[in-house]
């Protein structure tokens, strides 16, 4: 059975600079896989390459076994890939309701659409209160919730979430961790995250990137137990015993 998302030896440039130089990735269906790595490791570019915003110069990107090569971003989205970018991930000049409705597949009838919106509002009660407000007037945490809800409402087969905890208060980070953990088994998630605490709560598997290459993949516990790995590739400072 093919993986939900698979990348093999992917190479990609931004301008004349090589950003990805051998990314491989296997995201099993229904899992939450966390992609980690230092700043500049190529995590965001990996997500943008999957979405078709950055051309894949070499290697393969497959969704449930089907190649995504050469497809424009909107076609990739319609195949069931939902993307939550790190920044500018909601439409600030639209209300919360409009942001959610815009993301609904056109095939949805009114009742089906309302049910889908109702489901995501159940996950994010804050958004229900802010339903008629402009997205640009939301707090950072609420915006992040709306960004994730806008993708969830389209019932994606695979979700790509780029560093959702950046700049958020601990309360929102905990809430995010709970929500993403709830998605296990319901959809497939590839989560880019620098916050190891959130990664530990939400993720089942990890992929470690360094200088545009995949250096290690495996179950999350493996990374959490390996402090040397954390120190080397994530810059996590480990307090030594006795100090």
């Amino acid at each position: 059975m093919p993986e939900a998302l698979e990348m093999r030896d992917v190479v990609a440039n931004i301008g004349e600079y090589r950003i990805l130089d051998g990314v491989r990735l296997a995201v099993p269906e229904g899992s939450v896989t966390v992609m980690l790595g230092r700043n500049g490791a190529g995590k965001t570019t990996t997500l943008r390459t999957i979405m078709g915003f950055v051309p894949c110069l070499n290697g393969t990107v497959r969704l449930f076994g089907d190649s995504l090569a050469g497809l424009p971003p909107h076609r990739i989205a319609r195949l069931g890939v939902g993307y939550v970018p790190e920044d500018a991930n909601v439409f600030p000049n639209l209300t919360v309701a409009e942001n959610l409705r815009l993301a609904l597949p056109r095939a949805h009838g009114r009742a089906q659409a309302e049910e889908a919106v109702e489901q995501v509002l159940g996950l994010f009660p804050d958004l229900r209160q802010a339903y008629r407000r402009w997205a640009g007037h939301l707090s950072g945490g609420q915006r992040q919730m709306l960004a994730i809800a806008s993708v969830l409402v389209s019932q994606p087969r695979v979700m790509l979430i780029d560093e959702p905890s950046k700049g958020l208060s601990p309360r929102f980070v905990d809430l995010l961790g709970e929500v993403i953990a709830q998605l296990r088994g319901r959809t497939t998630v590839l989560l880019v995250e620098q916050n190891l605490r959130l990664a530990a709560v939400a993720g089942e598997r990890f992929t470690l990137l360094d200088e545009g290459r995949t250096v290690m993949e495996g179950p999350m516990e493996e990374l959490l137990e390996n402090t040397a790995l954390q120190q080397r590739y994530l810059g996590v400072r480990v307090r030594e015993r006795g100090n």
Binding site: P73, A77, F91, L94, L102, P105
Partner: protein, 288 residues
């Protein structure tokens, strides 16, 4: 007092035409980030098509609709045939859209000749009255109401329909729109064609307003529309309305006292506003 009211009405009619021209231009810039010099060409074609149909059919609605339809068609052809290849390349866009303006204006000159062609108001709107010393011209009132109706319809579409939400979303973040599964290129084409149609609509209405159509009228209108779009705030339809009112009324007043300074007046107002509000009256700062 009667002079002030006369100038106000005159200014409002100017503003209505300017708004039709500027609203399309601002939507195209907001969504596509294209400074579209071809807009003046669509205006000219709307003016000539409207004038030609009015003399052939003697039907105001058909002449205005025909002019707008030609604008939509030209806009669609220019976007699909030329602009689509040039998104993201500002220099090429500038050159190509200026080239399109010149070609469209020269085609008009070739087909209809270089001399002005008379464009009288239809008989039903050719009447005028004097009330308390203020001359009321039926066509002037029609242009003002038409502009107001188009503004209301545009607001209704932008605020109350899915297409409107797509356009507003695209103005804000076209990449995110694509990530939501929307074929952004199609939205681009639709907005470019609608914008061109609005310019042609302004052209169709402006013939009887100015009394004649000329091949060069697009360039003058183009410059005024750019002033309004910058003054109102790039990408803002509400800003275009405000900018149109400011420039339209200012132009009417200055034309009365010093006709040779009328065009300059709009530019001076724009410069003064930009000193105080660098993003225009209703413009927003770029969202990172």
């Amino acid at each position: 007092m009667s002079v002030a009211l006369t100038l106000l009405l005159n200014g409002l009619a100017n503003s209505a035409l300017y708004f039709l021209m500027a609203s399309g231009l601002t939507l195209i810039f907001g969504l596509l980030r294209v400074v579209n010099f071809a807009h003046g060409g669509f205006f000219v074609w709307g003016a000539y098509t409207g004038t030609f149909l009015a003399s052939a059919l003697h039907n105001l609605a058909a002449s205005i609709a025909g002019g707008a339809a030609v604008g939509v068609l030209l806009g669609w052809l220019v976007e699909r045939g030329l602009m689509r290849r040039l998104y993201g390349d500002a220099t090429q866009q500038l050159l190509i859209t200026m080239g399109v303006l010149m070609v469209l204006s020269e085609l008009v000159r070739l087909i209809f000749g270089p001399n002005p062609i008379s464009a009288p108001a239809p008989t039903s709107l050719g009447r005028s009255w004097v009330v308390n010393g203020v001359p009321l011209v039926a066509y002037e009132g029609f242009v003002i109401l038409f502009g107001a109706a188009v503004f209301a319809i545009l607001q209704g579409v932008l605020r109350g329909t899915r297409l409107g939400a797509l356009i507003r979303a695209g103005v804000s973040n076209p990449e995110l729109l694509a990530a939501r599964g929307i074929p952004v290129r199609r939205v681009f084409t639709a907005v470019f064609a609608i914008g061109a149609g609005l310019a042609a609509l302004a052209g169709g209405l402006s013939g009887p307003w100015f009394g004649a159509v000329t091949p060069d009228m697009g360039m003058d209108m183009q410059l005024t529309a750019f002033v309004i779009v910058v003054l109102g705030g790039l990408g803002s339809v509400g800003g275009s309305l405000l900018g149109s009112l400011v420039v339209g009324i200012t132009t009417a007043i200055v034309s009365y006292f010093a006709p040779s300074l009328a065009v300059l007046a709009g530019v001076v107002v724009m410069a003064l506003v930009l000193v105080v509000r660098p993003h225009g009256l209703m413009g927003q700062r770029e969202v990172a």
